[in-house]
Symmetry: C2
């Protein structure tokens, strides 16, 4: 099922902007910010506006196409992999990567069983210095 079909089936209109934003999102492996997506689309879509990126992301989140990440650098990042998983952000170059080492689903199960909350979401984020930046620092 492609993006146009998903939008239609959820009662939203299919627009060039929405398609472009979706493609930009799935094309990036960097958990892009709204600004980054906006910038990467300006060349092809000169009239694109940042507000449209935000509004579109809100829809995408609502219909489960993206997860909004809060990795502690004061701006939302968008992840098209909506499975629970953890992230790590390099405090030097600011890139965000997936962390596969830990089983987020198991952790959230522990939380749910250990507390009386109904757990609805999780954000597991680490920060550190990535191998590349570590190497540069040692020179």
């Amino acid at each position: 099922m492609d993006i146009a079909q998903i939008l239609r089936s959820e009662g939203f209109k299919v627009t060039p902007q929405r398609i472009a934003i979706y493609q930009a999102l799935t094309g990036h492996h960097n958990h892009p910010t709204a600004e980054l997506i906006y910038q990467s689309l300006r060349a092809e879509h000169p009239s694109m506006s940042l507000a449209t990126v935000y509004k579109t992301m809100e829809i995408f989140e609502k219909i489960g196409l993206v997860k909004v990440l809060d990795v502690g650098d004061d701006c939302a990042r968008y992840d098209w992999d909506t499975q629970n998983h953890s992230h790590i952000r390099c405090t030097v170059c600011n890139k965000v990567e997936d962390l596969m080492g830990i089983d987020s689903k198991a952790i959230s199960k522990i939380v749910e069983e250990g507390s009386e909350y109904r757990v609805t979401g999780q954000q597991i984020t680490f920060e550190g210095i990535c191998p590349d930046c570590l190497r540069k620092q040692s020179h």
Copy 2:
């Protein structure tokens, strides 16, 4: 070692504002926001300003007296328990509680061993609905 001594030993001046803010912080069990601390001090310290709360928290963070939390509600919260531990925020009443069920230190160890990052920080935050709000909803 009390707050006055700590400040002095770190080369900062001891002011009534800093003492009051520290007391407000340690008095709250709610991971207060800057605004909340500011409001709770206005009565006793009419001239207190929000900017001073922010500036003071920056110092407290620098000298390891508080950890700044990012629990996904668009404002910083301050925690005087600087040991790594997880939090859960109720999306209905917006309160933030400590989560003792999971061993954050162990998780961060796993991350450090499983990746090539030098891990320097972590934010493990869940969101859900607290027992109180669950009860109210069912009526």
